[in-house]
């Protein structure tokens, strides 16, 4: 006699609607909200609005905060990358081994190149 197979419940796979947020869209969104509500994002999200009550709808606030967080993080990363690049550019060429290479300020680099030219 054939045995009936136990039915295994299969969870319904969830579908998502996914649409990446772009930096440009987020930046435009922040600008639009700041202009519309006459308050900077930094001030609004610092939690230090004091007696000023912006009365921003939670849905607007949600969009605004998500755009602002994203813009801040990208800007922070860009600033950090530029700072790293500046440090690298300040390392001048040296015929000495790399362990002896040192960082120079732009002023030191300028002086060094002037003395070389002289």
């Amino acid at each position: 006699m054939a045995k009936a197979k136990a039915s295994v419940p299969v969870e319904e796979l969830m579908e998502f609607v996914e649409q990446p947020l772009t930096y440009g869209e987020a930046r435009r969104g922040v600008w639009k909200f700041e202009r519309g509500h006459k308050i900077s994002s930094a001030e609004l999200f610092s939690g230090k609005c004091g007696s000023f009550h912006p009365d921003v709808n939670a849905d607007v606030l949600f969009e605004w905060k998500s755009y602002y967080d994203f813009v801040c993080e990208v800007d922070r990363r860009v600033a950090s990358a530029l700072s790293e690049r500046r440090k690298l550019e300040e390392v001048t060429y040296s015929s000495k081994p790399s362990s002896e290479t040192r960082h120079q300020t732009p002023e030191q680099s300028k002086q060094a190149s002037m003395s070389y030219a002289a």
Binding site: F16, Y23, C49, H53, K65, V74
Partner: protein, 163 residues
């Protein structure tokens, strides 16, 4: 929690309520945020709508997650329950008619707040002994809304105790 784990947690949440009759689950709308100069994901937002077969009421769950020193944290949430009209696009409509909503943001310097019965009624964390609104999770909010629908008051469902 990373983006993949977050998506899995939504699936788990839905599974948790699969035996609750009358809930109609929309598709979660996700907006991942990628580093425009690299491949890293820097955060995401989620908007998820749940409606009811027996009435024109809906739940809207919204969360914003962002990267913080190698980890992801929930930086903002808004869990809303209230009536709707059939022509509304529930994912994007501004929710002005509120039965209860927990807004997980402290922009008055008074902690998170809960709307009790109306958009204008806000009870801030600094007025509350319980609950700790910052710890509110999606599943807990849905459970509390179900309690309201079964006849409890907002204060009872959310265990609101004023100082």
């Amino acid at each position: 929690m990373d983006y993949g784990a977050f998506k899995a947690s939504l699936q788990q949440l839905k599974n948790k309520f699969k035996k609750t009759p009358g809930l109609v689950w929309g598709k979660p709308h996700l907006r991942p945020q990628y580093d425009p100069y690299g491949s890293d994901i820097l955060g995401w937002t989620a908007t998820w709508v749940v409606t009811f077969e027996s009435s024109l009421d809906f739940i809207k769950l919204r969360e914003n997650w962002k990267s913080t020193s190698g980890n992801f944290v929930r930086s903002f949430f808004s869990y809303h329950y209230g009536p709707y009209e059939v022509h509304w696009v529930l994912e994007t409509v501004e929710c002005k008619r509120v039965v209860v909503r927990v807004d997980g943001i402290s922009y008055f310097g008074r902690g998170y707040h809960i709307h009790d019965g109306a958009k204008e009624n806000r009870i801030f964390q600094d007025q509350l002994e319980t609950p700790d609104l910052a710890g509110t999770q999606m599943d807990q909010f849905i459970e509390n809304v179900l309690k309201i629908r079964y006849g409890k008051t907002i204060a009872e469902a959310f265990d609101l105790k004023l100082k």
